[in-house]
Amino acid sequence: MFKYLKQLTSLVAMVAVLFTFTTETMAAKKSKTLKNTQKKGFVRCGVSQGLPGFSNADAAGNWTGIDVDVCRAVAAAVLGDANKVKFTPLSAKERFTALTSGEIDILSRNTTWTLSRDADIGLTFVGVNFYDGQGFMVRKSSGITSTSQFKDGISACTNIGTTTELNMRDFFNSKGISYEPVAFEKADEVVAAYDAGRCDTYTTDKSGLAAQRTKMTNPDDHIVLPETVSKEPLGPVVRQGDSVWEDIVRWSLNAMIEAEEYGITSANADMMKSSDNPAVKRLVGAEGELGAAFGLDNEWSLRIIKQVGNYGESYKRNIADTGILPDRGPNELWTKGGILYVPPAR
């Protein structure tokens, strides 16, 4: 039966392609997502259900975090106002469907860039705004200080629908340890179950562990083990098939990182217009025609820097000053010993 279903659907698809071909070529010049966003007057952004430092809403409903700032940067570039963003909190399970079905236009939700996600399910990753790795948290009182002390029968709490679930299996298998995976749909439920003693360890991205630790009854009773068991490059994602929109999101993020590299901050951005460095002048819109490439004006990146700040400011405001991860580690600029390195905006 499935065989016929497939034939039928491909027949329908062929008809569909013929139908849309004539209009497609004309519309391709301008981004449909960009047009819709400008018409609506806000950027539709998918975020987490509350991960301090990345995307977290305060009591008044204001979203903050470095993932949130990516969406704000796009809003500043496209609409001229970093506050014109509509945030949709999504669980790990819902996030990709929300993006591919068009409910949101940017997914900026501590999402790991992997081959299968990028190539297989209609998504495009535009860059990395946080280099992370999976780690384990345990209770201090357990006396465990390294993953090498894990024993058969250990229970591990985590989220469903994450790369964590897969890495966890790889990790325990390679060590030959039998374990009990306890996977919840929401991060808050994972934290509650681990905090209650249901699990011996809680595993997710290390940044996530550091952030969730702040939500525990007694944060000081828990430690994050030093081992990192996987690579987790986290970054914003867009739907496949709108390359102009993809470029806008990619370069909004890149502009923030490059602004830090050239020392342009939200405070000095206007003064930098008279800089001697042409690279700086291009970034603040005083030289070149960079915005025209995506159908934007020339001050798109200036607005990002003035309204959201450069990457360093965003990191300091959201992650360092909140005590989550004071040390930038790999998320330092390449010029300062980290691995943040973006192509030049020119």
């Binding site: 499935f2 497939k6 659907t9 329908v12 698809a13 569909a16 392609v17 849309t20 790990a92 399970k93 990709f96 469907t97 591919t100 079905s101 068009g102 299968s116 996600r117 297989d120 399910i121 209609g122 345990v138 209770r139 009182s141 357990s142 006396g143 465990i144 002390q149 894990f150 024993k151 029968g153 250990i154 229970s155 469903i160 629908g161 994450t162 679930e165 897969l166 966890m168 299996r169 298998n173 374990y179 009990e180 995976p181 306890v182 996977a183 919840f184 749909e185 439920e189 509650a192 179950a193 209650a196 003693g197 249901r198 011996d200 739907r239 496949q240 098939g241």
Partner: protein
């Protein structure tokens, strides 16, 4: 001719409308999936799943296929539904009968139970049992043994495992006992119909079901020992129990909340059924000399069941469908394993959701068919 046309045209329009609606949705999905480079197909089912599941009735780990992960989820859903239905039925019948009790305390307590549990959303009850009630349980190292062998801890309920020797002899002895009981019952009925004498069937049956298996121990060489769970230390303050059988707290919390919730509705069905049997029926039965037990068994229950079964079928269906709330507390049912993790790892949303929907549909239809068969069996047989 005109009359025929009148009959056919509305039907044709309906069919056309259904086809158009389905056509539009599949066309729309196809176009959008094509634009975003998403393939449609069920081939992923044979791929390696590469994720583990906490609790499974069949052998499974990440090296098995997505299809096997689907089976794991399906079996877990069936498990929690079956246990839930059994407990809900037992509790429902007890509470339903208790609501009709002339004893004020029993009566009011049953009424309070029904009103309390059926008026709180099920999801909240699940959260309550899992996050509040089970959270209050001790850590494994602090747990006191119940009867020396059961350990109820925050990590689950640990019970002793049976270790059998010559289990097949024991099994055959039970089968033999059941066959003997059936034969005796048929014989007893014949005796009653021909001679009007009643044989003590209940006592004979009880005797058989105990004595035959007992004999298998004495002369059949069957032996049974228990493997009692033992505490094992993982780290300074982290312990588990090894050996025996462990029931995860997720399963316990889910079964408990489903059974407690659904039992309230079943209790009301039972009450309605019993009250629906006319008073005259009981009086008439008593007047021909039946004792109260016989009145209930031979006159009231057969009539009450006709009223009870159809709405109870609905409750069974509800319980099965409600078991999908498992995802909230990490019980690996069909929705969590297949429509959750597998969907995320493959991105095959349309395929997986359609399979999941079809599965629940089939489950519900199977329960319906079974209950309808039973309903027909107990319905009035018109001659």
């Amino acid at each position: 001719m005109n009359f025929k046309l009148q009959k056919i045209v509305p039907q044709l329009i309906t069919v056309l409308a259904v086809v158009l609606v389905f056509g539009f949705f599949s066309y729309n999905a196809q176009v959008n999936m094509e634009n975003r480079g998403i393939d449609f197909g069920y081939g992923f089912l044979s791929q390696e799943s590469s994720f583990d599941v906490q609790f499974s009735l069949i052998e499974y780990d990440g090296s098995h296929s997505y299809f096997r992960a689907y089976l794991v989820g399906l079996l877990n859903t069936i498990l929690v539904s079956v246990i839930g239905i059994i407990f809900a039925t037992i509790l429902g019948v007890i509470v339903g009968v208790a609501r009709l009790s002339p004893n004020y305390l029993i009566n009011k307590f049953a009424a309070f139970y029904v009103e309390f549990f059926r008026n709180i959303p099920l999801l909240l009850q699940i959260f309550f049992w899992y996050f509040a009630a089970l959270r209050a349980l001790p850590l494994p190292q602090d747990a006191d043994a119940m009867f020396g062998v059961f350990f109820l801890t925050i990590k689950g309920l640990y019970v002793p495992a049976f270790v059998w020797e010559n289990f097949n002899v024991f099994f055959y002895s039970i089968v033999a006992a059941i066959i003997a009981i059936v034969v005796i019952r048929i014989h007893a009925r014949k005796v009653q119909e021909t001679q009007g004498k009643q044989l003590p069937v209940l006592w004979i049956s009880l005797g058989l079901i105990f004595i035959l298996p007992l004999l298998s121990f004495v002369i059949g060489g069957v032996s049974l020992s228990f493997e009692i769970p033992k505490l094992k230390q993982l780290a300074t303050t982290s312990f588990i129990y090894e050996g025996g059988v462990s029931l995860p707290p997720e399963l316990i919390a889910l079964t408990l909340s489903l059974a407690l919730y659904t039992a309230t509705f079943i209790a009301e069905c039972v009450r309605a059924g019993i009250q629906g049997v006319g008073k005259g029926q009981k009086e008439a039965a008593a007047s021909i000399g039946l004792n109260p037990n016989q009145v209930l068994k031979l006159v009231v229950m057969p009539q009450a069941l006709r009223i009870i079964i159809p709405p109870t079928t609905n409750q069974y269906l509800n319980l099965t469908k409600n078991s999908s709330l498992a995802a909230a507390i990490a019980y690996p049912d069909l929705v969590l394993v297949f429509a959750g993790t597998a969907l995320m790892q493959t991105g095959k949303a349309i395929e997986i959701v359609s399979i999941t929907m079809l599965t629940y549909l089939s489950l519900s239809i199977s329960i319906s068919i079974l209950m309808n068969w039973y309903n027909k069996k107990i319905a009035i047989k018109e001659k």
